[in-house]
């Protein structure tokens, strides 16, 4: 079985079959290579030797991680480390990549049939009696689709998590369907994917790709990944990249044309499938998966705002989704199946969302909307009962976990403490909603310094503290995230009635836009939500400067009644917030009056100034 040991010497790595060691050699020390602590073994199959690494307790369910092109198993290092304490994690270098040997001759040695042989050999070696859970990225996923849809692997695969790699058969049918009846939309989809597949055409030219990879492209590739794909620098890609990439070209040449021309008609998945779609993938259109339910009946969809190399850029999120999916399949308890059914469950499932001002109004509705999408929710408010109530109901509508936290957002030390606690107990925050705010009405000259301080402390400083403390942690983690700040239509609509409130909200709006620019490079989105008149408790608690306590009460009641008549529900604002996060929108006016004011502020600011002089009778 060892006939094909003649490997390219380029990588120059000596090895002994069967040797057990930690990590791969030839890389810098420090934190050490990702596969530290892995046990290695060699599996001989079909004329090649596959380098197989294992982490975690072999008694746990086995998860096999399949790497893509041009990668080696080290692409999974972060994810593998995250999965190792719950699962028996197995990674192997695909034939011709990393430390596995290449078939001889190369042509015809990379067909999906042979890759399936490799997989079965590895699965039999690492988990002889139990089916394995497969996770594939890029070509790893393309292969794994083959594993998940051919007869001979039936019973060997317990679940399959696919990212950025469609089944070539499904792809073939997808193209056929669009060629046969090219409606404008279908033609556009076809052209779009056709343009994204430029590298596939290049790889079909003879010799040139090999030369490029072994020459300048191989040298520049790590830099390109960092610059274009935002892959963090570190121990990836490995030194074997040029040979991985050169050999891997045969993956395309051996399979793509053949499969796309004659896609199998019976490519139905025989195991549950989880599809993770990065929305910013430069190589694959999201539309490729539109008809996937037809091929994979038990499909769970996830979307991730990231580029192609998610195992490098979003390892935490992958660990969480893989863990959830595999655990659900292992336990096989239908009640524990992924339950969230909200409109954005694919995007927010399992994410950690922190909402301030969550005891009432927009904050509470937002917490519920995220809960319905399956997010874990932290409801922060000064009002302990209200926050507890929000957390309790959030659990009922779909949040796997929800916690109340009693904090005054204006208190910097308390916010710092909260951030430490959240980090230690609940994990890193994925979405932060700075929503807490108070109302203050009254003319500028009647507003006291104390009134100003109070409103700025909560409305502005609360947002600043939130953005600074949690934003810093998000940026340090380097795996994206989103910050939503609740501004107001008052941020662009001046009014003689609301000088202090409008000032604070205008500051929040500008802060959000600046922060958005700053964090854009790190994959963290910032959105400012600008609601108009929304029926919440803010009217009942707003301060009216310069009037007696009795008059203040009367005006509060009157304002509450007015807002009640307007009756714009906070739930709609919450929906706008989720949509803003999903679409990464910068400024989102909600309610018709806010949208109108936003429009006027750009095209007819004088009209707004005229409106500002009107004093509504309260």
């Amino acid at each position: 079985m060892k006939t094909g040991r003649g490997r390219d010497a380029a990588a120059g790595r000596g090895k002994e079959p069967g040797r057990t060691q930690g990590g791969a050699q030839g890389r810098g020390s420090g934190r050490g290579p990702g596969l530290e602590g892995a046990t290695e073994r060699w599996v001989h199959t079909g004329g090649v030797e596959l380098c197989v690494a294992e982490l975690g307790d072999p008694a746990h369910p086995t998860v096999v991680l399949m790497h893509g092109y041009p990668d080696s198993k080290e692409v999974w290092s972060e994810v593998a480390r995250g999965l190792a304490d719950r699962f028996h994690v197995v990674l192997y270098d695909v034939r011709g990549c990393g430390r596995s040997t290449a078939p001889r001759p190369l042509r015809g040695g990379f067909t999906l049939e042979k890759l399936t042989d490799d997989f079965l050999a590895v699965a039999d070696a690492v988990s002889p009696d139990r089916p394995v859970h497969v996770v594939g990225h890029d070509w790893g996923s393309v292969q794994a689709w083959e594993f998940a849809t051919v007869r001979r692997t039936e019973g060997r695969i317990a679940s399959f998590t696919s990212m950025s790699g469609p089944s070539l058969d499904h792809f073939g049918h997808w193209i056929k369907k669009r060629m046969v009846r090219p409606t404008p939309r279908r033609a556009a989809q076809l052209l779009n994917q056709g343009a994204k597949s430029w590298y596939v055409y290049m790889l079909h030219t003879p010799v040139l790709p090999e030369l490029a990879w072994k020459g300048p492209l191989g040298k520049r590739w790590p830099g390109i990944l960092q610059r274009v794909e935002k892959v963090p620098a570190g121990d990836y890609p490995t030194a074997s990249l040029p040979t991985d990439a050169a050999h891997g070209a045969w993956l395309y040449r051996d399979n793509v044309l053949a499969r796309l021309r004659r896609p199998r008609a019976d490519a139905y998945a025989h195991c549950p499938v989880q599809l993770i779609t990065p929305t910013g993938d430069a190589f694959l259109s999201q539309r490729l998966y539109d008809d996937l339910e037809q091929w994979a009946p038990q499909l769970v969809r996830r979307t991730l705002p990231a580029k192609h190399w998610v195992p490098r850029t979003r390892p935490d999120q992958l660990v969480s989704w893989i863990t959830e999916f595999v655990t659900a399949k292992e336990e096989g308890d239908p009640a524990k199946q992924i339950a969230a059914r909200g409109p954005y469950a694919d995007r927010f499932g399992g994410q950690l969302v922190l909402v301030t001002g969550a005891a009432s109004g927009i904050g509470r509705a937002t917490a519920f909307a995220f809960a319905e999408a399956g997010a874990r929710v932290i409801a922060v408010d000064r009002d302990a009962d209200g926050a507890a109530r929000t957390a309790e109901l959030a659990r009922l509508v779909g949040a796997p976990q929800a916690w109340p936290e009693v904090v005054d957002v204006a208190d910097e030390a308390a916010m710092e403490k909260l951030a430490d606690k959240v980090d230690a107990e609940y994990g890193p925050v994925d979405v932060l909603v700075n929503n807490a705010g108070i109302g203050l009405s009254g003319s500028f000259l009647q507003t006291t310094t104390d009134d100003w301080k109070k409103v700025l402390d909560v409305n502005l400083w609360g947002v600043i503290h939130g953005c600074r403390i949690f934003g810093r942690r998000m940026a340090d983690r380097g795996q994206g995230g989103h910050i939503v700040n609740t501004a107001s239509a008052a941020a662009f609509q001046p009014s003689k009635m609301l000088p202090a409130y409008s000032t604070s909200k205008a500051a929040v709006l500008m802060l959000s836009e600046c922060l958005r620019a700053e964090l854009a490079g790190q994959g963290i989105g910032v959105s400012a939500i600008c609601p108009g008149l929304v029926n919440t408790a803010i009217t009942g608690t707003a301060r009216f400067a310069g009037v007696s306590a009795e008059e203040e009460k009367r005006r509060q009641a009157k304002a509450a009644r007015m807002y009640g008549l307007r009756n714009y529900p906070p739930e709609k604002v919450a929906d706008a917030i989720l949509r803003a996060v999903v679409r990464n929108q910068a400024v989102v006016p909600v309610t018709p009056e806010a949208r109108g004011a936003h429009l006027l502020s750009r095209f007819a600011p004088r009209a707004l100034r005229a409106l500002a002089r009107i004093e509504p009778r309260l």
Partner: protein, 288 residues
Amino acid sequence: MAPVTTATSAAAGELTAELRGFREVQRLAYACAEAVAAQLKPGITERAAARMQREWLRERGVRDWFHLPFAWFGDRTAFVNFRIPLQFFPTNRELEPGMPFILDMAPVHQGYTADIGYSGCLGLNPVHDKLLADLEAHRALILREVRERRPLREIYQDVDRLMVRQGYANRHRAYPFGVIAHKIDRVKQRRWSPTLFGFGAQSLKGLASDALHGHRDGWSPLWSPYTFSDHPPQPGLWAVEPHLGFRGTGAKFEEILVVTDSKDPQESAFWLDDDLPHVRRWQEEKAA
């Protein structure tokens, strides 16, 4: 149509014959709701459920209605996207496992009217259970404030505030005139009892006459959030129906509150019957 202005202590169970008549029909209606709810299964439509209620009550001698039976399934229990009153009428929406449902009927039996609402769910629905449990506070709040003789409009707003604090939406706002309650009374039995948009003509006549009298004397048979309800509770029988909604799930109860002109707070207002499914459910939960 003599208004109920005198009643003896409910605690002692010595109701006047008249109140006993109302209690009997209310019990009959709840028995109907429980019987129909027990027969609901997946695939059954709102229309079928409404028909089952109608037939069950007809078999037991009901010939006239305050309103014909309603049935709401799924997110229709929270009146999601209701714009026009016609949407209250039963549709072909089919019941599915885990769905909440509400049966609402107002039969007239031997001249006595009841108007009840029964919330349930098919199988497990934790949100629905929570809503139903949280209705208990509303039942207590309404009775307490009516006994304090607070203006109906203020009580309405207090119920509203409690709902908001609980995190729920006020769904009785969707009813005609946004009422949380309306007066009901005895109805003359006629051989022919036509209905108008689902409401019994006799009952509507009674309500209209009450509205007319009330308009002269400064009160209204409709308990709404508007200024025409800005008066202390008017003696008589009120069918009270607080309706909570929470993200596509709704729950309500509806039962008769007796308001008298007695000076004794205990006798000035009381729930006609404390032996009703939702009350028993709360007691069982407390015992458990």
